[in-house]
């Protein structure tokens, strides 16, 4: 059977890879780094400039299904990894048994597996922020009708988002897309999430990688509480008396603050008309990201976008431009504030962080310097000091793949994984 690559984004260099060898045996010089995440299957990373590709060796019907599902989820605008294709028809040679196909996805630039974040000394609230980000991801997926089936930190990649994180789904193998999810399905996903997060954190603790003040079980409960309150805020009905109609606008504003737009809201009254009930029906995430993109053309995570938009608002206020066209002011801010800061980062340091994150950190650094020096420090001074004193010490995060964990594929008797 001839080798076959099914892909929507043709990448000719894919043909050069050693497909006739089992993935576990690929030579180290073809690999980006030996990947280690908790995985049932064999996974490898390969550099295909300018990207890094993730390869997963998996049974054919599952590979095709996952590829289709990831494409669908991306079309729905959900934060998931980008599928590249499925490679089938692999054999080790004539007369040899066939090798399992490989699902190829594009590694998310500047994304980090959770174990990478725990491998260095970090603020103790990082763990909570990770679980928080996962809760938001789960809510977004559930709103779209996607049942995950195997919610875990290992199945997620995290990107820095203005000091917090935004989460991206990596593995859709157990997932299913429906029109809407039943409460039973959502509860099950949440239950699995809590169990898996507890297990993953307990494992880090057992490996001495978790700060002693953190309790895995307490942290695993965060996802339940955060998910439930977010879900209630986004979809829960609210009743009030007539005369309190400001509550409608307040609800919409609260949702916007959480990063969601209200696409549709039902407003109903009871028979006597004595109480009014509102219930958001359609909510779309990435409210701030979309607004930033619309105004400036910049693509950023939700929190980053909120931060940059705040800076834009301050810029407008400081220069007394409130009456001016929004788009014109935004353009002036991009060329007057944003771009100079990014240009001030030397080329060799650009792999450290995403531009939007750098800008956020420079703003933070400017505030810190101003405090320290007892005067208002300008952006130029702040970015120079930041590059010299802070950025240069940071690790490159453009493509972090290898961290110290274990790969434990479940394969037939007789082969003990080392």
């Amino acid at each position: 059977m001839p080798l076959q690559i099914t892909t929507a984004a043709p990448e000719p260099a894919l043909l050069d890879l050693p497909w006739s060898q089992p993935l576990a045996e690929w030579p180290a010089d073809r690999l980006a780094a030996l990947p280690r995440g908790l995985s049932r299957h064999v996974v490898r990373f390969v550099r295909m400039s300018p990207h890094v590709l993730a390869l997963k060796e998996i049974e054919e019907s599952l590979a095709r299904r996952e590829y289709r599902l990831l494409r669908l989820l991306r079309r729905l605008g959900l934060p998931v990894v980008e599928p590249v294709g499925v490679v089938t028809g692999r054999t080790a040679g004539l007369g040899q048994p066939p090798l399992d196909p490989v699902l190829v996805t594009r590694h998310l630039q500047f994304s980090l597996p959770y174990r990478a974040l725990f491998s260095r000394s970090l603020r103790t609230d990082t763990a909570t922020r990770l679980v928080d980000a996962l809760a938001v991801l789960l809510v977004r997926l559930h709103l779209a009708g996607f049942f995950w089936g195997d919610v875990s930190l290992s199945n997620t990649l995290f990107r820095r988002d203005a000091g917090a994180f935004s989460a991206y789904l990596v593995d859709a193998e157990t997932g299913d897309l429906h029109d809407t999810l039943s409460d039973g399905q959502r509860d099950h996903d949440l239950d699995v999430a809590q169990t898996n997060i507890a297990g993953e954190l307990m494992d880090l603790a057992a490996g001495g990688l978790l700060d002693e003040t953190l309790d895995p079980i307490d942290l695993s409960e965060v996802i339940v509480s955060r998910y439930r309150s977010l879900w209630a805020e986004l979809t829960g009905p609210e009743s009030f008396e007539p005369g309190e109609r400001w509550r409608v606008a307040a609800r919409i504003r609260r949702l916007n603050d959480l990063g969601f737009d209200v696409g549709e809201l039902t407003i109903s009254t009871d028979i006597e008309g004595t109480t009014i009930q509102i219930e958001p029906k359609v909510v779309d995430a990435a409210h701030h990201s979309r607004r930033l993109l619309r105004l400036t053309g910049l693509d950023a995570g939700e929190n980053q976008a909120r931060r940059l938009l705040n800076d834009l608002d301050e810029y407008r206020a400081e220069r007394g431009l409130q009456g001016e066209d929004e788009a014109i002011v935004a353009h002036a801010w991009v060329s007057g504030c944003f771009e100079p800061v990014i240009r001030a980062v030397p080329r060799e340091l650009r792999a450290k962080l995403e531009p939007a994150e750098i800008y956020h950190e420079v703003l933070e650094h400017r505030w810190y310097l101003s405090e320290q020096r007892g005067r208002d420090v300008g952006l130029g001074e702040a970015v120079a000091d930041y590059v010299r004193g802070v950025l240069v010490h940071k690790p490159d995060e453009a493509s972090v793949v290898g961290v110290d964990t274990e790969e434990m594929p479940v394969i037939a008797e007789g082969i003990v994984e080392g």
């Binding site: 908790l38 299957h41 157990t174 037939a412 003990v416």
Partner: protein, 357 residues
């Protein structure tokens, strides 16, 4: 441990014209290993999810024991979905891997320990409890995953195509392990697969579904020897049963140049033609019978499978027969087959239902 009942349970997706599961009536005994099998889209996974609480039940009920669980959320049903997500944590011991979920539930340490020890004994993992998963073979790692479900002591185990993402060799090993484990534990188990061989080797009883409708439920032997309709007849057994549409004649059914005697009552009122079902091992080479031309002979040592073609009106039908492997017929040869006495199944040509006297 408990019995499970589907009481005319249906699932209809909004906007769909046909139910995904149509008034399913199924009683599963306490401790039984029941397999739901059928082709893709038949509703088997949907039926399992209805039991799990992951799928709404539009009409009818689901009962676990005597308890109506139709509206009860998944985590309160006392069921365990096995293999759904079975990560092995490398820094934790096998014992910790098996028991950590109980910790989350707030169970006291000594009780967790006891449950883990009990499960380890059943799974032959006692000597590995303090080891790390890295030291275990693939099969042993699978068993640790089963252990996680066992320690929860659920009333019912649910498994949805659990072997589908394993490599072929491990699939066969695990299949046997699951079956023997279930026998030892005696926990009611509902297992979904599309693979009829898997269904027949593992189940106490097998329920065949098609297009959301239960076709037949019975022991593997019952399904094999006495399929209720043409679909079950053709689905169960590999290679598949020969199903030939043949004319009714005086005293029986016209089988090529002979008449296969059949009880008159059986074919009375069935029309001019009936579907005759004969398994490959129940066809024998003879002087008379259906005339076929041999196309392929698969020699397997003691047996050989002969794939031949037979003309029936304008059509050409394929016939599969198992013959003695020592002197199989030649490719291209013209041979006659006739069915062994007592091994002929008859079905109505329109409804597909089994015909009986």
């Amino acid at each position: 441990m408990a019995n499970v009942t589907y009481d005319k349970a249906s699932r209809i997706y909004p906007g769909a014209t046909k139910p995904a599961v149509d008034t399913l009536d199924l009683a599963i005994a306490d401790g039984e290993f029941l397999v739901l099998v059928g082709p893709s889209g038949c509703g088997k996974s949907t039926a399992l999810r209805m039991l799990a609480g992951l799928e709404d039940v539009n009409t009818g009920r689901i009962l676990i024991g005597d308890r109506d669980v139709t509206q009860v959320p998944p985590k309160d049903r006392d069921i365990a979905m096995v293999f759904q997500s079975y990560a092995l944590y490398p820094h934790m011991t096998v014992a910790e891997n098996m028991g950590f979920a109980l910790k989350i539930a707030g169970m006291p340490k000594n009780e967790i320990r006891e449950r883990v020890m009990d499960a380890a004994k059943i799974l032959d993992l006692t000597q590995y409890l303090e080891r790390k998963p890295k030291a275990l073979s693939g099969g042993q790692r699978q068993r640790v995953a089963m252990g996680r479900a066992i320690v929860r002591k659920p009333q019912v185990f649910l498994m949805d195509e659990p072997l589908s993402n394993l490599d072929a060799k491990l699939r066969v090993q695990t299949r046997t392990q699951i079956a023997s484990l279930q026998r030892r534990l005696g926990v009611t188990t509902v297992y979904v697969t599309h693979d009829q061989i898997e269904a027949m080797t593992m189940g106490d009883r097998v329920a065949v579904l098609r297009d959301g409708v239960l076709q037949q439920v019975g022991t593997p032997r019952e399904l094999y020897d006495r399929p209720d309709n043409v679909f079950v007849a053709g689905f169960i057994g590999s290679p598949a049963m020969n199903l030939l549409s043949l004319p009714v004649a005086d005293g029986g059914v016209k089988f090529g140049d002979m008449v296969q005697p059949v009880d008159r009552g059986t074919v009375a009122g069935a029309g001019e033609k009936v579907v005759v079902g004969v398994r490959p091992e129940d066809l024998e080479l003879s002087e008379h019978g259906i005339v076929t031309t041999v196309e392929v002979v698969e020699e397997l040592g003691a047996d050989a499978y002969v794939y031949s073609s037979m003309k029936s009106g304008d059509e050409e039908l394929q016939v599969i027969a198992r013959v003695d492997g020592r002197k199989p017929p030649e490719k291209g040869a013209t041979v006659h087959f006739r069915p062994k006495e007592g091994h002929v199944h008859l079905f109505h040509v329109d409804s597909g239902e089994r015909l009986e006297a």
